[in-house]
């Protein structure tokens, strides 16, 4: 434990170095770039396994360091090794490794292959950094970098306008959630004085923190805002389906298995901060998202979009699990979902690849014969997602959530919503499989579809095996996963499977899943024999409702009409203010100054200057007049003197009298 914690930082650093090196490589060094990324993620995977091994025997270890300080306080960072982080690190590294390998085949013909692996490695580095972070600040930093990598990868084919727009939308929408996260982080820092999760009793998650942090529902909810954005919960779910514009391996890695689950991981990580009130909100948001997204998935026709809405829905289940059942329940579904959803996405990628970039399920059909390996693995994934009992991981993890909801003290409504979601999930997945793999090929492309190369199918097989096996680690009979996260040990007890608490819920969900599969199979199994142009059977039955669902309940349109339009209008108003009002004010001051100057000039010209001229003219005239006196005639001088003398004499005499 002590030795592995010293090297824990290597887990994210290895792919980061690969990304840095990949960024500097010229475009033609394709193999080197891919080799670096895959080598680095292999190192991360091995280290994660070693770390996981270490956590089996002991609890939690941390390693903190000072990042910078100001005055007396310092900002610390660090990494933590505990079961929660270790299991996540192993999952992320393993799924990343498999998807990196798969990408070798999927992206083989792309001219920006080198850049693709650079971005993938950057993503893996940020994601693994987030997993081992022991500081909310470091977590946030990695969280933002994950968002950046996601932006770069969604917009990887930026020549497609839809891809560029989707990348922008994803970044901005998740940033709205991050705004809450940031504010929550500031608040938490102001209250707790530290961002470290665990710091020998002083961390913000530890009850013995200095003074005892008063866990506040507001802080918890603000942090949850970040999770809502990243994990595509209502009302910020709109970016995730659009993110499917990215290459399919990206959708599998980032927008299904890992990054979108980071929001769930965040809540699991800061679980001690989550007050009962906050957990209520988490549960409700999760429940609404689960049903809302599942219902939209029923009416979609793009193979990846169906999976995307399914991801949103499943993330809702994870949130419900966290809210009602605790860390272990939510994290177990996160783990199983990561494997089977990665499997489904990669399978979808294989289908798209085989059908020459066709994504519309109405134009496929009959692929089971042409893509046998993909079909078999996809079927496993579909059954895991739908929750087919006993042999598929999704069944166990979903059942744990439903069981927790059933015993939740808050309300029984989320439980019923969860059941409804389970039915819808089985329904839309069966619909998809019928449309894609069963029946007859609808188009020439589907007719000539080909199986993918082994570099793509081998990861599929591995993931299919995992999608089955992981479930056995968390059954009620042997709850190893839950015990591992809680730091206890689990015994095998078959009777727990059969007790009166578990069994009714299990049977109910099984019945609903069976109903969904059978009904959907009955509708679409027959429909798949008909031409592609024909309307969906549900559309025929309920045209208005179907259209509304197909348009995703008009949420995008609603946001466009309100938030986007208001922001733009306000921005234009500010622009107008700047140009017209403030600019006008400046111009007015200018004109005033100029007017004053002109007035000055006129006053100067007419009053000051003119007056001066008149004055000087007068002086000159007077001088001229006076100068006439001095004309050189002595007689006149004498006359004047005489007159003056007389005048003076009279004046003096008058004065004396």
């Amino acid at each position: 434990m002590e030795s592995i914690i010293q090297y824990l930082w290597l887990i994210p650093t290895a792919p980061l170095l690969a990304a840095g090196a990949g960024a500097l490589l010229p475009r033609r060094r394709r193999r080197l770039s891919a080799g670096l990324a895959i080598g680095a993620i292999s190192i991360s995977f091995l280290l994660s396994c070693a770390a996981f091994w270490a956590t089996l025997h002991s609890g939690r270890a941390t390693s903190n360091f000072r990042w910078f300080d100001f005055g007396t306080t310092s900002v610390q960072m660090g990494w933590v090794l505990d079961p929660l982080g270790a299991i996540m690190a192993v999952m992320v590294a393993l799924v990343s490794l498999l998807i990196f390998i798969y990408s070798l085949g999927y992206m083989a013909k792309d001219e920006n292959f080198t850049r693709f692996f650079c971005f993938l490695a950057l993503f893996a580095a940020a994601m693994l950094g987030l997993v081992i972070a022991n500081s909310l600040l470091l977590f946030f930093m990695c969280w933002e970098l994950v968002g950046l990598a996601s932006y770069l990868l969604i917009g990887f084919w930026f020549q497609k306008p839809s891809a560029a727009a989707a990348a922008k939308k994803a970044f901005i929408v998740t940033r709205i959630g991050d705004l809450g996260f940031l504010v929550g982080m500031l608040w938490l820092y102001a209250k707790a004085g530290t961002h470290l999760f665990y710091d020998h009793g002083q961390g913000c998650l530890e009850p013995a923190a200095a003074g005892g942090l008063v866990a506040s529902t507001a802080i918890a909810l603000l942090i949850f805002c970040g999770a809502v954005g990243k994990s595509g919960q209502i009302p910020l779910h709109v970016w995730l389906p659009d993110a499917m514009e990215g290459p399919t391996p990206v959708s599998a890695l980032i927008h299904a298995a890992t990054m979108v689950a980071a929001g769930v991981f965040l809540i699991a990580r800061v679980y001690p901060l989550m007050t009962p009130g906050a957990l209520q909100v988490v549960t409700w948001v999760g429940a609404l998202t689960a049903v809302f997204a599942a219902s939209i998935a029923v009416a979609q026709s793009d193979i990846k979009r169906i999976l995307a809405y399914s991801t949103v829905s499943q993330l809702g289940y994870m949130m419900m699990g966290l809210g009602a059942g605790g860390v272990a329940v939510g994290m177990f579904h996160l783990t199983t979902h990561a494997f089977f959803k990665a499997l489904l996405f990669l399978g979808a990628g294989s289908v798209i690849h085989g059908c020459h970039e066709e994504q519309d399920i109405r134009k496929m059909g009959g692929l089971r014969l042409r893509l046998p390996v993909t079909f078999a693995t996809y079927a496993v994934g579909m059954m895991a997602l739908s929750g087919v009992p006993l042999f598929f991981s999704g069944f166990w993890s979903k059942d744990a959530i439903l069981d927790a909801l059933h015993h939740w003290r808050g309300s029984q409504v989320p439980f019923y919503l969860g059941l409804l979601g389970a039915f819808l999930t089985a329904f839309y997945m069966t619909r998809q499989v019928c449309r894609v793999f069963l029946g007859k090929p609808m188009t020439v492309e589907a007719e000539h579809a080909h199986e993918s190369p082994p570099v793509m199918t081998v990861p599929l097989l591995i993931l299919a095996a995992l999608a089955v096996m992981v479930g056995f680690f968390g059954t009620p009979a042997w709850p190893w996963f839950q015990a591992y996260l809680d730091g206890g040990s689990a015994g095998f007890d078959l009777s727990k499977l059969m007790n009166e608490h578990q069994l009714p819920v299990m049977l109910l969900s099984t019945a609903l899943v069976a109903a969904g599969i059978v009904w959907s199979g009955w509708i679409y199994g027959r429909a798949s024999a008909r031409p592609a142009r024909e309307a969906d059977p549900l559309e025929v039955a309920q045209p208005a409702l179907f259209a509304c669902v197909q348009k995703k309940f008009y949420v995008d349109e609603f946001y466009d009409a309100t938030v986007v339009r208001l922001t733009t209008a306000f921005a234009r108003f500010c622009d107008w203010l700047d140009r017209v009002v403030l600019g006008g004010l400046v111009r007015a001051v200018c004109w005033l100054a100029l007017a004053l100057a002109r007035l000055d000039r006129n006053v100067d010209k007419s009053v000051v200057n003119e007056g001066f001229d008149i004055g000087t003219e007068a002086v000159r005239g007077a001088g001229q007049w006076v100068s006439r006196l001095q004309n050189g005639q002595v007689q006149r001088y004498l006359r004047v003197i005489g007159l003056a003398f007389c005048g003076l004499l009279i004046l003096l005499l008058w004065g004396c009298a």
């Binding site: 990042w67 910078f68 300080d69 100001f70 005055g71 306080t73 600040l137 946030f140 930093m141 990695c142 933002e144 970098l145 950046l148 917009g155 930026f158 020549q159 306008p161 560029a164 727009a165 922008k168 970044f171 901005i172 940033r175 709205i176 705004l179 940031l182 504010v183 500031l186 608040w187 820092y189 102001a190 922001t567 733009t568 306000f570 921005a571 234009r572 500010c574 622009d575 700047d578 403030l582 600019g583 400046v586």
Partner: protein, 496 residues
């Protein structure tokens, strides 16, 4: 050593004036050498000061009688805050020369004025005699005007005149305040440290503070006195807009902190909330206006207003971390804005001769100028405050500080960051990645990105990344200075 930053710049300017011939190459080389020498002096001086002073107090650089009758001295000194800004000036100066390598028209005069501007800026950051500071402040305005009016583009006479008038109105206000302080103190000195010890009457402080603060803050883009900034930036040639956003706006913020806030702490306390409101309005408003601009450079111009709002908000928090964030943001914005202006002005505009986003959109610049596109992606990431770049750590500190003083403003400033993401991504897509209208591509033949441009971009990118990862490098300068005797009145007023 530090004083040589000023002398080298002015000597270089004078030398360039007497350089014979019209060949631009010697002028460029001489300017680059002068800028590099200035940067080297700044770095060496910073290291020396850091090693010897340590405590963050003002360290004398030069001190001589100038006008003894009025008690005016030629007194240069530096503390951590001024050292950070001197370093910023050095880096921005070098980058600016590198991005002006294509100036062929009257290049001798161009670089002479450029160096004179740099010299003035160094002078302001190093002066502690307020009269001397004021002189350098004025010296910096004149070359700015000519740089814009002779080598500028869009509406250059208008922009240059607006900028010059705004600057002079500001400096007139500053001068009034300084003379009033000189008279009221009655100590026959303009020395900052001496004046800071004087306890001015509260009533006097209340008006003197706002006059001096706004006088300086006009140049820092304080809303609603910011409108010179976008038009000035747009009109200016690349190097001038880099300096304008990079260092000249910092002159204002530096003066506001160093003079107004230090001398009149009681007045500061009176006006704290009002100015914080203006700063927050500037953050959100600048970002929103940037969101709807059609001119590429206007977007960056308004983003400067928004980012400088963080500096002013940080100053108004009156907390250690807020002020430290403000100083860090001055540095960070100087680097990042310089980089973005370089991409817009030098890499894009000088090649395509347009900055209209609608015209740039179909040109598919990411294929034509991949280096410019990558630089703008990374620079944009830095500008929107992504972790790993200096902007993140600076804005985070400001927000933490603001949360302690006025939590609501912190939230609103965070909304400003969100708007910052929106306008950055919008302009990124429009200018480089052709959102929509892919068919309308037209082939564009233009020279490749040259070596000096690459060097300048790497210099600026490396700096923001370095500070983003190791903010301690600058905080070692800033933090002790915030606790120096000079700043004590500020904290006393803040805690009252």
């Amino acid at each position: 050593m530090l004083a040589w930053t000023i002398y080298i710049s002015f000597l270089g300017a004078a030398l360039l004036m007497f350089l014979p011939g019209e060949n631009p190459r010697p002028a460029k080389v001489a300017a680059l050498l002068a800028a590099l020498a200035g940067l080297a002096c700044a770095a060496k001086g910073a290291i020396e000061c850091h090693l010897h002073a340590g405590a963050g107090a003002l360290t004398d650089v030069a001190n001589a009688n100038w006008i003894p009758e009025l008690g005016i001295r030629y007194h240069l000194a530096a503390d951590g805050i001024s050292l950070v800004l001197v370093l910023l000036t050095g880096i921005a100066a070098v980058a600016g020369v590198l991005f002006s390598w294509n100036v062929e028209n009257r290049s001798r005069e161009f670089f002479a004025l450029y160096l004179a501007l740099i010299g003035g800026v160094y002078g302001v950051f190093l002066s502690v005699d307020l009269f001397l500071l004021f002189v350098f402040y004025e010296v910096a305005i004149i070359p700015k005007y000519f740089l814009i009016v002779i080598w500028g583009s869009t509406r250059r006479e208008y922009g240059a005149m607006k900028l010059a008038l705004y600057s002079f109105v500001g400096s007139a206000m500053v001068l009034v305040g300084l003379i009033a302080a000189y008279v009221m103190a009655g100590a026959r000195t303009f020395d900052l440290a001496a004046l800071a010890k004087v306890h001015f009457a509260p009533a006097f402080q209340n008006w003197a503070f706002i006059v001096v603060f706004v006088g300086f803050a006009i140049l820092a883009g304080l809303w609603p006195f910011h409108t010179w900034a976008p038009t000035g930036h747009v009109a200016a040639p690349t190097a001038a807009s880099m300096l304008l956003a990079g260092v000249v706006m910092k002159l204002g913020a530096y003066g506001a902190l160093r003079v107004a806030m230090t001398l009149f702490p009681v007045g500061l306390h009176t006006w704290q909330n009002t100015i914080a409101v203006l700063a927050v309005v500037g953050i959100v408003y600048g970002a929103l206006v940037a969101l709807v601009q059609q001119d590429f450079k206007f977007v960056i111009g308004y983003s400067s207003v928004s980012h400088m709002g963080f500096v002013l908000l940080g100053l108004m928090t009156l907390t250690q971390i807020g002020l430290s964030g403000a100083v860090l943001q001055m540095f960070s914005h100087g680097i990042i804005a310089g980089l973005l202006f370089a991409v817009v002005g030098r890499m894009v505009y000088d090649r395509t001769h347009t900055r209209d986003l609608a015209v740039l959109q179909p040109k598919n610049l990411n294929q034509v100028l991949p280096f410019a596109a990558v630089t703008f992606v990374v620079g944009g990431a830095a500008s929107m405050g992504l972790p790993g770049f200096s902007g993140f750590i600076a804005e985070l500190q400001v927000l933490v500080g603001a949360w302690q003083t006025f939590p609501v403003f912190a939230v609103m400033a965070a909304v400003g960051i969100l708007a910052g993401v929106a306008y950055t991504l919008r302009v990124l897509l429009k200018a480089f990645f052709a959102e929509g209208q892919v068919e309308a591509r037209e082939p564009l033949h233009c020279p490749r990105i040259s070596l000096p441009e690459r060097a300048g971009a790497l210099l600026l990118l490396g700096t923001t990344l370095l500070i983003g990862l190791c903010p301690q490098l600058l905080l070692d300068f800033i933090t002790p200075s915030l606790n120096s005797p000079l700043m004590q009145p500020l904290w006393k007023a803040g805690t009252r």
